[in-house]
């Protein structure tokens, strides 16, 4: 059930230059949340930010009532959030959206890029707890964009690509051996990252008829499916990314 919560910032961790993690604590029990779902955070004290901002659930621990967000500073709102300090409170609506379809049948590949790595961590943790068989592939411009490298590598095989070759395979995620090599037989691909990456991965999966889900990041106002601002074209017509997504099966998208 969606709810509006006041969360207390338990920790703020700077990750590389433009990224930070907000680790939040809730006094009351948090609602159940699934990988791919997101939260909508109110940015206070900034006259230039009117709407809430959506962020994926990066980590969620029902035992300790903790939830984390991995945030990239790209503009006004994320900059304001980056200035928050420990013990301050944030107003958050969560959980929102549908989340990935999890399944143990066959080997899965999780692909993430940029701040698309945010939901990947929660997803990988979940798959591991299900004893699912999966690999992780992350990509970025340079080694500085390979967020959570250490944490992710603790969860499964971790492959990576960088555009400048500073780490892993040089190129895009779709250039990585694990996708090209016919010996690795992925039955499911989960992907989150910049639209270009999603489209390239979707193309790859489509050609090979692999089950593939991607998480979209359209601009939002309400986050709960009422304003119809965040739509993406699907074969069923315009659908709301916030409520009918953010995770879509590529078969439904008009890519």
């Amino acid at each position: 059930m969606k709810s509006i919560r006041k969360l207390t910032i338990a920790d703020k961790i700077n990750v590389e230059d433009n990224y930070f993690i907000l680790k939040c604590f809730s006094a009351e029990a948090l609602p159940e949340m699934f990988p791919g779902q997101f939260a909508s955070i109110k940015v206070e004290n900034n006259p230039n930010v009117f709407l809430r901002r959506p962020f994926s659930i990066h980590d969620y621990c029902p035992e300790t009532n903790e939830v984390s967000f991995l945030i990239k500073i790209v503009g006004k709102g994320t900059c304001s959030l980056s200035k928050l300090s420990v013990n301050q409170q944030i107003d958050v609506i969560l959980p929102l959206g549908n989340g990935f379809n999890l399944n143990k049948s066959g080997k899965a590949l999780i692909i993430g890029g940029g701040c698309g790595i945010a939901p990947i961590f929660f997803l990988a943790k979940k798959l591991k707890s299900m004893n699912a068989d999966f690999d992780i592939l992350i990509g970025g411009r340079s080694c500085h964009d390979l967020l959570c490298y250490k944490e992710l590598s603790g969860l499964s095989h971790l492959y990576c690509t960088t555009e400048d070759g500073s780490e892993g395979t040089k190129g895009y995620v779709t250039n990585h051996n694990c996708l090209i090599d016919n010996n690795i037989d992925y039955k499911r691909i989960y992907c989150c990252g910049p639209e270009n990456m999603l489209k390239a991965v979707a193309k790859h999966a489509k050609e090979r008829d692999i089950f593939c889900e991607v998480s979209l990041e359209n601009h939002m106002a309400c986050g709960i499916g009422v304003c119809l601002c965040c739509v993406t074209e699907t074969i069923h017509g315009n659908e709301c990314v916030c409520s009918q997504g953010p995770v879509f099966n590529i078969k439904d998208l008009k890519w």
Partner: protein
């Protein structure tokens, strides 16, 4: 105990807090957050005769204390409303008000006629003010003649309480209000969004796929309030005021300017509980200010 019930012709509202069309879905989307039957009423998303896909993405731009939308009346049409949506909302224990839109008078009449047949639709709000569609929409609301014509036609097609929602994009709002009053409207909803634009200077392109869209939120409140006051002086039928309401003082400002009830729009996106909280806060305000009946506030400027 203070009295906060108001009537809009035959429509009895347990309190003057309604939610605005297009910002509250069909109501049930908010039932995770509070008991939506507590509201004075829920005005559901616009319904048109035919299904509509709306405008292409992007449909939204954030502006100083406001937002511009270019949704363009996306909805599944009146048939789907009757066969499907109606069943999901008919048992909500408050006034469900249909928002009727369309490109032609005939289409609006058709939707109103069908809505009129639905028992649990408490009233009809005719939207002659949508800035986001190529035909009809705002064009009806910016001409005295067209506003009269469409209102009179829809009036003929329905006997439920009829609210007409006006466009603020006009030189003389009172003139339009008087026209729809004389055409048989039971009440006036004021305002819809202001035609506006945002540009992405990096891409050198309009932010919205449709270039222009409708501005809502606190930014427009001072203009909306002025219009409610002007219309209050010009007509005898009740006014339902809206535009940027975010707090109980905003609610009271609209009541004082002459609104019998108010609608909460964009504020629902910032705080999904706001409409519920405002019912409580209005009573507290009245208590604190020795106001026993909300009618003392309506048009109560000194």
């Amino acid at each position: 105990m203070v009295n906060i019930g108001v009537n809009i012709k035959d429509l009895k509202l347990k309190n003057p807090i309604l939610t605005a069309s297009g910002t509250f879905g069909y109501g049930y989307e908010y039932s995770d957050f509070f008991d939506i039957s507590q509201l004075g009423g829920i005005i559901v998303k616009a319904t048109t005769a035919e299904p509509r896909e709306g405008n292409p993405y992007p449909r939204i731009a954030e502006t100083p204390m406001g937002m511009i939308n270019a949704v363009g009346l996306q909805n599944k049409g009146i048939n789907y409303f009757v066969s499907d949506i109606y069943n999901k909302i008919k048992n909500i224990d408050t006034n469900i008000i249909a928002n009727v839109s369309g490109s032609t008078v005939e289409a609006c009449v058709e939707v109103a006629r069908r809505m009129n047949e639905l028992d649990k639709i408490a009233a009809i709000e005719l939207n002659i003010s949508c800035p986001n569609v190529k035909e009809g929409g705002m064009a009806f609301g910016t001409s005295v003649r067209e506003a009269y014509r469409i209102t009179a036609s829809v009036r003929n097609a329905c006997n439920k309480t009829l609210l007409v929602k006006l466009s603020p994009n006009v030189t003389d709002i009172a003139e339009i209000a008087m026209a729809v009053e004389s055409a048989g409207a039971d009440a006036i909803s004021l305002v819809n969004t202001f035609l506006a634009m945002a540009i992405d200077v990096e891409k050198r392109k309009p932010v919205l796929s449709t270039v222009t869209g409708g501005l809502s939120g606190p930014a427009i409140k001072p203009i909306a309030l002025r219009m409610v006051w002007q219309v209050y002086k010009a007509v005898r039928i009740p006014i339902v005021g809206l535009g940027g309401i975010m707090s109980v003082t905003d609610v009271v400002e609209f009541l004082l300017a002459g609104a019998t009830a108010v609608q909460i729009g964009t504020a629902n996106f910032i705080n999904p509980k706001i409409s519920f909280q405002l019912i409580q806060e209005l009573q507290e305000f009245m208590d604190a200010h020795g106001v026993k009946d909300v009618h003392e506030l309506i048009g109560g400027l000194r």
